[in-house]
Amino acid sequence: MMSNKNAFIWEGYQKRRRRVAVITTVLIILIALCAVVMMTFGNTVYSLDTVFRVLKGEEIKGATFTIKTLRLPRLLVGLLSGLAFGVAGNTFQTLLRNDLASPDIIGVTSGSSAAAVFCILILHMSGTAVSVISLLAGLLVAGVIYFLSFGKGFSKGRLILIGIGAQAMLNAVTSFVLLKGSEYDVPTALRWMNGSLNGVKLDRVPGLLVTVVTMTIAIVMLGRYLQILQLGDDSAITLGVKVQVAYIGLIFASVFLIAFATSVSGPIASVAFLSGPIASRLIGKGRVNTLPAGLVGALLVLASDLIGQFALGTRYPVGVITGILGAPYMLFLLVRMNKKGESVS
């Protein structure tokens, strides 16, 4: 009897593992496809052969510039930002056990963006320094929202509501800085309000790469705590998780990801919000889906960028497309939650 039951559980476990493996592979293949399209298509279409020759270092007139300076940074930044937003958003949502508690809804991303745009346009800084300051700003916003949401006891509903207010305020700051930097041309504004991959430079890639790799590893390693935290704080404490430490570590790593990605590509709208729920829809609840969420994020950014560039006649920055994708899902989520009578807190 007992062994039968064990076998059943074991089988289920194996089945879920296979599902994760299959879905991860499919996601990677789709991302690779997007990458190929991004490298080959454009004003001029280059063959894959040409692309590889250029990447190996061959000089081909026209192609080298287009591929190395225009398309490659776009692809890499899109990929890495997507990963960063996906992983970070998913971590926030899992920690707070609410899909709406995503950093791009509760103002953390806007905080990073406001700081980045201030450093770049007013203080004329560039490179990693910008990312570090936007990290500090993101942490500050997260901390302030968290402390403000203690009234008579902490409430997630209140945290989200306060976050929405903080978001509005920080967006006002960003608009102000854009005006003061006398850069209120449409592309710059859209970049810092919605996120865009236009004109990103290759030299920002290494820093972003290091951040994404280290912080994702950190979050995956803390992931087993994340899985226990999903059961609720009380259970987690009973199971011996140092809840406070785990929380702080995970939030810190997530804000790190968001700040670095935001300072390069701007706050690409809704990616952080959408990736986690899509990933958990794909692989089922109850597992920590840090990596799949990251992959979904990368896929969202690359696919939306392709749509924005080629599908619509006008070239739209990626954030406008993802912004439009995010809103219906948010409404769907609200309707579903309300129907079930779940309280949002």
């Binding site: 709406l100 809804i105 403000l148 949401s149 009234g151 409430s155 509903g157 209140r158 989200i160 509501l161 306060i162 929405i164 207010g165 903080a166 509005a168 305020m169 967006n171 006002a172 700051v173 608009s175 102000f176 005006l179 003061k180 006398s182 449409v186 859209l190 919605n194 709208a269 809704s270 006649g313 006008t314 739209y316 406008v320 912004g323 439009i324 995010g326 809103a327 219906p328 948010m330 409404l331 609200l334 309707v335 939650m337 309300n338 129907k339 079930k340 009578g341 309280s343 949002v344 807190s345």
Partner: protein
Amino acid sequence: MKIRKKLVLFIAILAAILFCVLLSLAWGSRSIPFAEIIDILTGKGGDSFNVDVVRTRIPRTIFGILAGAALGVSGALMQSITRNPIADPSILGVNTGASLFVVCGIAFFNINLPQQYIWFALVGGSLTSAFVYAVASIGGEGATPLKLALSGAAVSMAFGSLVSTVMLPKSNVMDDFRFWQVGSIGGAGWDDIKIIVPYLLFGFVIAICLVPSLNSLALGDEMATSLGVNTKLTRGLGALAGVLLCGATTALAGPIGFVGLMIPHFMRSLFGPDLKYIMPMSAFGGACLLVISDVMGRLAGSPGELEVGIVTAFLGAPVFIMVARKAKVKSL
């Protein structure tokens, strides 16, 4: 004694408006001394360039007073018909809905008259607010503050993206109409004032007539019904007036948020819960806030101008957070 206190407050607010108007005429990228303004206004003349500057600032200031009053009353109406402390035209999506419809009208139907803007804005505003409220009311406990804020935020997010999408291919149009993304009263002239006044008057009259019914509504639907108030009619008319006031303003000035949230709360803390005071005082307070925000935008943005919608968002968001902290979160 109490009446006297209210009278003093009332006079103080009127004085504040007068002061804001003076500032609005005086300050900007070119500042003019107060004495000279009074000379110009009384027709004693002054530096001819300054006369022109003041003349262009007059319609803008009057428009600011009207728009602020409309937004303040609109907020007070929305808060009392939904009985929800964070209801505000911008949170209910009226602003962005109105904006989206006007922008679509310009892009796809070639509308170009202010009258047409207003009608598109009114249709857009009412559809959007109805939709937001409907989404928030699904489920057992009705439209709680959090659900309302979230569905409003979702809709604003979607519509904001759509406004950008519609406008981006027409970047020549975009420069002229940037204020449909962030509200501004900078371009307002006498024509705008003439067009908007009838709509606003209609809205104000409905709002004032509704005051007794809304006061009963504050006691709860059952109590109000037993006091002989038709709750559905009251809510319907209140929503109509609220959308009329806010939609007409948005049609000519773009989405200006948070005025309707801040002012009624502030007035409630000064005058108590009776709408007999809150409704007119919200008009005065809104006018004061919008005019002073516009002045702040001019000073902060100089030599350019910061749209008034950005200033009100910056001032209003902390108030929103305060209200959210106090709101009953159990029901959130």
